[in-house]
């Protein structure tokens, strides 16, 4: 039988594959599996490709506290409905690793902020982002002013809406980018 990874769910070959494909080490993947198993242990033991639904995923601490938790799940879900299996979950954590390059991250983050899937971040998307960031105090925030200022700074061709390249250019100027988009593993 050989050495079996992760309580017999994955074989040795698969784990080496995961370590080469993702930005995670073997230890980290093992730890993540243990953490992920807590959500639905019996189902995952029966079938390692079990898709944990969106409602259950919100019990995972990083997703639950995150105002963009459901958006994260939806962008990384391979079926598009917000449910993740372990592979999708690994993809998510690997993308938000500090080793991952900025371009890869930005691809996903742009999708995350693009709430209406129209290929650019319009004023409605910005408002939704701010609403999620602020929470209950949305009424007291100067949303319009932020929208105007943001469009002034990032919308380079003044065509309305922030396209992907503009978004990328704006994010590239933030030096704390890698520090902010990071998910804890341990």
């Amino acid at each position: 039988m050989g050495t079996i990874f992760g309580k017999g769910l994955y074989t040795r070959k698969e784990i080496t594959e995961y370590t080469t494909i993702t930005y995670l080490t073997r230890n980290e993947i093992e730890h993540l599996l243990v953490k992920f198993m807590k959500l639905a242990s019996s189902q995952i033991k029966a079938d390692n490709q079990y898709r944990v639904p969106l409602g259950v995923l919100m019990e995972y601490p990083e997703f639950g506290a995150n105002p963009f938790g459901d958006r994260l799940c939806k962008t990384f879900s391979s079926t598009g409905d917000g449910s993740l299996d372990f592979e999708d979950f690994l993809n998510c954590v690997s993308t938000f690793n500090f080793k991952a390059p900025m371009d890869t991250k930005i691809e996903y983050i742009f999708q995350m902020y693009d709430f209406d899937n129209d290929g650019e971040i319009g004023d409605d998307d910005i408002k939704e982002t701010i609403r999620r960031l602020v929470g209950e105090r949305f009424e007291y925030t100067p949303v319009e002013e932020i929208c105007i200022a943001l469009n002034k700074q990032t919308d380079l061709d003044s065509a309305g809406g922030i396209s992907f390249t503009e978004f990328k250019a704006a994010c590239a100027k933030n030096l704390d980018f890698q520090e902010i988009f990071k998910i804890n593993i341990f």
Binding site: I21, H31, G80, F96, G119, E120, L156, F164, A172
Partner: protein, 929 residues
């Protein structure tokens, strides 16, 4: 032979470990689903499997057998690797009180580690060698030949080393008066330790303990002579290393400044898109982050509004600044004078107290000896507050006022410490030089008639430093633990009264607390020569003060998270540290090169000046060389010391210049890349529009020619326009000229296939990795966002107009120029994007065609990808309607509609023009039923 060699070379170059890793990196960095990634991984692996079979034996890494144990071990090792001191506290502070306050605590941590390095140097250079060479303790009665009396002239032939030993014995035995009152023995011991003679100070904390014993019965005879050199060497090492560390940190700070300058541009995008830290663990933290975020937004909006407003420097402000400056100088001078008078007065009164052993008098004496230290620490807590309050009057910017406050309080600190200690110094040092062949008798009497130097005056000075540190720690903790909670309580009880509210409201001032830390560092630098364990004590002090300040910030003070933009306070503080270090350096140079060490104790007991040890070390080597003559005749401390000082400053100058230059170069590089990205974006947009123009006016070459003229005419040289046009046509039509009766739908489909390739050509990235990534992306087909942008085909005809474009010599204007062209272009060619116009049919066909060519595994992935993603999500459909009319919806890209309705103006223009090629005319004229 040669051919086979080249072949193997190529082979290895193509498939080695490096390229394998590169390929896997590419697979990693692609933004695709995990399953596709695994398919790609399988592809890449299949290539390298053959290679691996030949070259590598099946090597397997060893693993710990049991899963649970391995998990525990891995977690433990991870924590060992990533452990950081005070992580939880720092995190808590950062969450509750913001980054700037947390930076202050990081500063404490940094200073702590800095002092730990100093401690390790001192341990390795002084304390451990002394312990190895001379042992733990030496009986003073064994080292000196018997019958020594310092006023006796019979001992004049004694060697310097023996004299030092006898002085040591004299000092240890004679001045020690026995304790009569046995009941309060401990109290007397403490009071004598705090204010008595120096023989009480012969413990490892003080200078006097580290004495060179020539006559001690130790086994390591050779090392005895080397110990003074160890001492001097470690003192110099500490100075040099702290100098280097300081300058390196300052060089790091310059980068921060560059970044802050640039960062003002994108505050809002940072706030909105990078507003949430995704590593936040629980709801409580998230709530605090929200609060902080709202505050930051308000600050940013206020700053954006105030950007245009500028402060006008009036005459009134200048007068106020001058008055404040003069009054501050007066305050500092008066404080120094008062401290000096006060310590004078106190020591005079302490001298007059008799040596009785009543507990009350002993306690009083002890308290009196601690008074100067108390006054110093009161000054240092009160005056910075005053400076901060007054600096608001001056109306400087935040950075300037911070710098001013910092330097003023540093000056107060240095002046107060030096004056408080100088009284003790004058009292114990008394005269310039001691008579030869004596221990403590002076050459000349001073004005008051004293002629005896106190034995081991260095230890007495060191005691003063310890006292100041101890009193400061006690007072700080007393203020934060007792007084501030009391003030808060007052506010709670008498909330109605405004005065009480004002008294009870405490705010955590970062500047004041940072100044405290710098002061401690300065004290450490002054004191470590006189007390080798002083850095260690400072470390303990910092460890305690961290928790005291944490208590202050979390419990006592009101939480007001400060502005988003962190000012460059750290750099200001570091430069303040450097300035104070240079002041301390001059002080230590005087001590090392000018003052006579006490003859009874210390490593330099047998020398006139500590610097002589280094002279001796140089001369010991070869007395007949030229070096000897030079050092004999030319060199003296008065030559060495300035030389070293000057060379250090030159070193600093070059180091700082190098560091600043390299960091600014990095900053400029970053700026260039950022600007480059902007330009790249704009130019790609321009290319897009040009491409659209060419697409739309495809059947009218003259109009393309006209519209392309302006790009060509920007250069001075006259170009071969016809040749260019031919080239361009070849680029647009890779499949040759069109034939008569070509269906439009087919043509546009071919265009669509060609579109991503054309865009890939226009990309100007030079990185190899990106190129190979693009190759992979083209393999993957339509999954990557960038390759899917065919909507531009469904556009209206742009009006071909000649926009006069002038050549601009400066680079900075190019972006604005391109922007201008873009604006005009987008206005004139009213882009109308039809969401239904981009058909899925032909695209999926083309994908299938490509997939059939490229093999089984890829075709699987392709099929999955096309099935997995919705077409609506993939293709960025521009919801916004541009300045175009609604009527021009029909486009020629739709294969079903065979009619092409050209919009009015351009259609008429194109009809007017003489078109030479009859084939194109047949294609261009719409069929009418």
């Amino acid at each position: 032979m040669t051919s086979s060699q080249t072949y193997t070379h190529d082979y290895r170059e193509r498939f080695n470990k490096k390229t394998e890793k590169q390929h896997y990196d590419e697979v990693k960095s692609l933004p695709i689903r995990m399953k596709d990634r695994r398919v790609l991984y399988g592809d890449v692996q299949a290539i390298y499997d053959f290679e691996r079979e030949i070259q590598m034996q099946g090597k397997r890494s060893k693993t710990i057998p049991f899963f649970r144990i391995r998990l525990l071990w891995n977690t433990f090792m991870y924590h060992m690797k990533t452990y950081t001191m005070w992580e939880a506290s720092l995190r808590e502070i950062e969450i509750q009180r913001g980054t700037l306050t947390a930076n202050m605590f990081y500063f404490i941590k940094h200073t702590l580690f800095f002092n730990l390095t100093l401690t390790s140097i001192v341990l390795a250079g002084i304390i451990i060698p002394h312990f190895i060479i001379f042992g733990w303790r030496i009986d003073p009665n064994t080292v000196c030949p018997s019958g020594f009396n310092q006023s006796d002239s019979a001992w004049q032939n004694m060697s310097q080393g023996d004299l030092a030993e006898c002085c040591f014995q004299h000092h240890m035995t004679e001045s020690d008066s026995p304790i009569k009152n046995k009941k309060i023995e401990w109290l007397i011991r403490v009071s004598k330790f705090l204010g008595g003679t120096s023989s009480w100070l012969s413990i490892p904390l003080f200078y006097g303990y580290y004495t060179t014993h020539v006559n001690s019965p130790s086994t390591t005879q050779d090392l005895k002579a080397w110990f003074p050199l160890f001492y001097a060497g470690s003192v110099i090492t500490v100075l040099v290393i702290s100098f280097c560390i300081l300058i390196r940190n300052i060089a790091d700070g310059i980068k921060e400044i560059v970044r802050n300058k640039d960062g003002d541009v994108c505050v809002f995008s940072e706030l909105v898109f990078c507003g949430y830290h995704h590593r936040t663990l629980n709801d409580k933290e998230a709530r605090f982050r929200r609060k902080l975020w709202l505050h930051n937004v308000r600050v940013a909006i206020r700053a954006a509004k105030a950007w245009s407003r500028r402060q006008i420097i009036t005459r009134k402000i200048i007068v106020i600044r001058i008055i404040v400056f003069i009054s501050m100088a007066m305050v500092i001078a008066i404080t120094g004078f008062l401290i000096y008078m006060w310590s004078n007065f106190i020591y005079d009164t302490a001298e007059t107290m008799n040596d009785s052993e009543k507990p009350s008098i002993i306690l009083l004496r002890t308290a009196v000896t601690c008074l100067p230290a108390i006054v110093v620490s009161i000054c240092n807590t009160v005056l910075p507050n005053v400076f901060i309050k007054i600096s608001k009057l001056e109306m400087y910017t935040v950075e300037t006022s911070t710098t001013l406050v910092l330097y003023r309080s540093l000056v107060v600190r240095l002046v107060s410490v030096v004056l408080a200690v100088s009284r003790v110094f004058y009292k114990s040092y008394v005269c310039y030089r001691v008579k030869k062949h004596t221990c403590t008798i002076c050459e000349k009497e001073d004005k008051k008639g004293h002629d005896m130097r106190q034995p081991c005056w260095e230890s007495v000075l060191a005691r003063e430093f310890y006292k100041i540190l101890l009193v400061e720690l006690l007072m700080k903790s007393f203020l934060t633990v007792v007084v501030d909670p009391f003030r808060r309580m007052l506010k709670k009880i008498f909330f109605r009264f405004q005065i009480m509210r004002r008294i009870g409201t405490l705010r955590f001032n970062v500047i004041r607390h940072s100044i405290d830390i710098i002061n401690v560092q300065v004290l450490c630098w002054i004191g470590f020569y006189f007390a080798p364990t002083f850095p260690l004590v400072v470390c303990l002090y910092l460890f305690v003060i961290f928790y005291v300040k944490k208590f202050a910030v979390l419990v006592n003070c009101i939480g007001a998270p400060e502005a988003h933009r962190v000012t460059r306070t750290t750099t200001i503080f570091l430069s303040g540290k450097l300035v104070s270090f240079l002041m301390v350096l001059t002080f230590l140079v005087v001590v090392l090169g000018g003052l006579q060490p006490s003859r009874g104790c210390g490593p330099f007991a047998s020398y006139d000046v500590p610097w002589q040890t280094i002279d001796d070390f140089i001369l010991i080597k070869d007395p007949d060389s030229v070096m000897f003559i030079v050092f004999e005749h030319v060199a003296s401390p008065s030559v060495y010391v300035p030389l070293i000082f000057i060379s250090l400053t030159i070193l600093y100058h070059f180091y700082a210049r190098k560091g600043s230059l390299s960091t600014t170069a990095e900053g400029v590089k970053e700026l260039i890349t950022m600007e480059g990205e902007d330009k790249q974006y704009l130019s790609s947009r321009l290319m897009q529009l040009r491409f659209v123009n060419q697409k739309v006016n495809y059947y009218d070459p003259q109009s393309i020619f006209d519209s392309e003229k302006r790009y060509v005419s920007s250069t001075n040289q006259r170009l071969d326009l016809v040749g260019q046009w031919k080239d361009m046509r070849a680029a647009i039509l890779p499949f040759g000229m069109t034939k008569a009766g070509v269906q439009r739908g087919e043509l546009s489909r071919k265009m669509k296939i060609f579109a991503p390739q054309f865009r890939a050509k226009s990309n100007t990235s030079s990185q190899k990795l990106r190129q190979s990534k693009q190759r992979l992306q083209s393999r993957l087909g339509s999954i990557v966002r960038r390759n899917v942008s065919i909507i531009e085909l469904n556009t209206q005809l742009p009006q071909s107009t000649n926009v006069p474009v002038k050549t601009t010599s400066t680079k900075s204007k190019t972006t604005t120029l391109i922007q201008l062209v873009l604006e005009q272009e987008s206005k004139k060619s009213g882009l109308k994007l039809d969401p239904n116009g981009s058909p899925d049919g032909p695209k999926s066909q083309s994908q299938a065609a490509r997939a059939n060519k490229s093999g089984g595994t890829v075709s699987n992935s392709q099929a999955y990808l096309t099935a997995g993603k919705k077409p609506g999500a993939q293709i960025p459909q521009k919801a916004r309607s541009y300045a175009g009319s609604e009527s021009n919806k029909k486009t020629f890209s739709d294969p079903k509609t065979k009619t092409n309705v050209m919009p009015g103006k351009t259609n008429s223009q194109s009809n007017k023009r003489i078109i030479k090629d009859p084939k194109i005319i047949t294609a261009a004229v719409p069929k009418k039923k």
